[in-house]
Symmetry: C2
Subunit: 332 residues, 2 copies
């Protein structure tokens, strides 16, 4: 048996074997109950999130659908100020999917969960007929606790606030794109897929009252995220093109492919809008964390409005809108 069969989703013997042999040991699941029972020693605000991952191809430079599914969901909890605790994992497997690939992804999920310090507590496995899926889709949902006193919101954004980004942009999208189309860049572009709860924990521990809001610019990229924040806060946000960290290879790849890096997906950086007087201090904390080495202040909130504006290299100013349609499908 080296491929997934429809029977692996039956609820019967084959499914129990698959779970017992491959899934339960990797996730250290002890029982196969309908629900996991966990202890939450915190009465108050809890963050809940869900994300399905349909990235194609499944394996790409710097990551795969497994670590992406953990990191993406951990990051969605972290950017609202929560401490991620428990994740669930749901698989939709296509009949005929190689079990060796499934094992590789299971290991990647497990390793990423350990690195992020979260526990996978419940799972589900479904199998669809050949031609009705695409190898594997993964849903991860997660919960985390929001420490008392932390309440991030775009409504806290004020004129003068600074915009900080935690790393260079476009790496994930270009890495997936290069694998999908067989492009080879030198040096290779690696996905930035990584869990940000450690880095975010550092700044919240020290300066939580100075953080207005955080977001991770995944699908739609930095441009879409900043436009969302401008709309939700009814403030104008101005960013400086020459302040935005981007690797030369990513820039070159975007030029070559006709992509605007501001719209390319990221999976390991976040944007924070912070009180101006604490911006430098926050930046220093971020730069001293291994996942924040390339952090930079890239802009500021200029006043009421709802627009995002980009000051270009050559000194012009252009309006930044959301991605109108689809630039890179199936990127996460």
């Amino acid at each position: 048996m080296n491929r997934i069969l429809l029977g692996h989703g039956s609820g019967g013997k084959l499914m129990h074997e698959l779970i017992k042999k491959y899934i339960a040991p990797v996730f250290e699941l002890s029982t196969l109950m309908d629900s996991a029972i966990v202890n939450i020693n915190h009465s108050g605000k809890v963050a809940i999130t869900t994300d399905s991952y349909t990235v194609s191809p499944l394996f790409f430079p710097g990551g795969d659908i497994g670590d992406l599914a953990i990191n993406g969901t951990v990051n969605d909890l972290a950017v609202v100020g929560a401490t991620p605790l428990y994740l669930t994992v749901g698989f939709i497997l296509e009949e005929g999917f190689p079990i060796s690939d499934f094992e590789r992804i299971l290991n990647s999920l497990s390793k990423a969960a350990k690195m992020a310090g979260v526990r996978i507590v419940a799972g589900d496995t479904k199998v669809v007929d050949k031609g009705k899926g695409d190898g594997i889709f993964i849903n991860t949902s997660g919960i985390g606790i929001v420490p008392d006193g932390i309440e991030l919101s775009p409504l806290k954004i004020e004129a003068g606030d600074k915009v900080i980004i935690s790393g260079s942009i476009g790496n994930h999208g270009i890495a997936v794109m290069s694998e999908r189309n067989g492009f080879v860049f030198e040096p290779p572009v690696l996905s930035d897929s990584r869990a940000l709860n450690g880095l975010i924990g550092e700044i919240l521990k020290n300066l939580s009252s100075s953080i207005k809001v955080m977001r991770d610019p995944t699908r739609g990229g930095v441009a879409t995220t900043l436009k969302e924040l401008a709309l939700e806060s009814s403030k104008d946000i101005l960013i400086y093109e020459n302040a935005i960290p981007i690797h030369d290879t990513v820039k070159g790849a975007c030029d070559l492919l006709g992509l605007d890096p501001l719209y390319v997906a990221n999976e390991g950086i976040f944007i924070a809008i912070v009180r101006a007087e604490s911006a430098e201090k926050i930046l220093q904390i971020m730069k001293s964390h291994p996942f924040g080495l390339e952090s930079a202040i890239i802009g500021e909130v200029t006043g009421d409005g709802g627009k995002t504006l980009l000051k270009t290299f050559i000194g012009g100013t252009r309006i930044v809108d959301m991605l109108p349609g689809e630039q890179l499908p199936r990127i996460c």
Copy 2:
């Protein structure tokens, strides 16, 4: 625009329009944050579960993938003794999927959530290329609180305990099967898709200390669930064929199709193993709830072992094992 486009999963403008126009109003989501923030006024045990729904066809007599996705996840929480509170919903849409079907499913999700008394607090939408999915797959994950003092476990099962089932078997599987294959039964067989937290709440409120364990016999049916319970408790469970509630049409359909109704999926019943002396009282409570009218005591725990045995109509006894492979694929 009447079909799903790849751009609806882009993270950009089209996706925002889809969410704003169709999804957010139905679920009453006010913000589009990375994570929902909810209040849980309970420090202690919390139940967490996840399930993906890939049922084919999407619409069938008595239900559709939307109410199934709510009821299945609510029931997974309810059978471990939890009060379901919050659900997340993740969509994987196939390019070209009719938006009218999506709307119908959204309404069904919303209606089922209201009926079950749970709130949908977070969502996610991905789109895959035509031919890489099957219309729509839905993941729902859920959390609920486990009231103090409730601790259900197969390890509590003892010889003498009674096995109660809350309704007639096989309805969901046969309803989906009939729609898939164009069979018409008279009277029509309807899926039993429904949320069991109300009914379960009634018995837990009154007699929680008499309930050893509960399970909902979905994929793999009653036989697989009872075999799991026998294995996990290391007890023998004996059930009586003539005590198991089943509608004549379902029985006839199973005969016709060569299916064993004990292995056919259910989506609106549960099995409870209970202390013998409270069994009749629990049965009375169940029978007085609209979702438990057909409840019956179907067997008992006979001693140590790990087997499930069936006393047949004609008086023989046969061993009941898990479903070996696949009987009805894509049933939930």
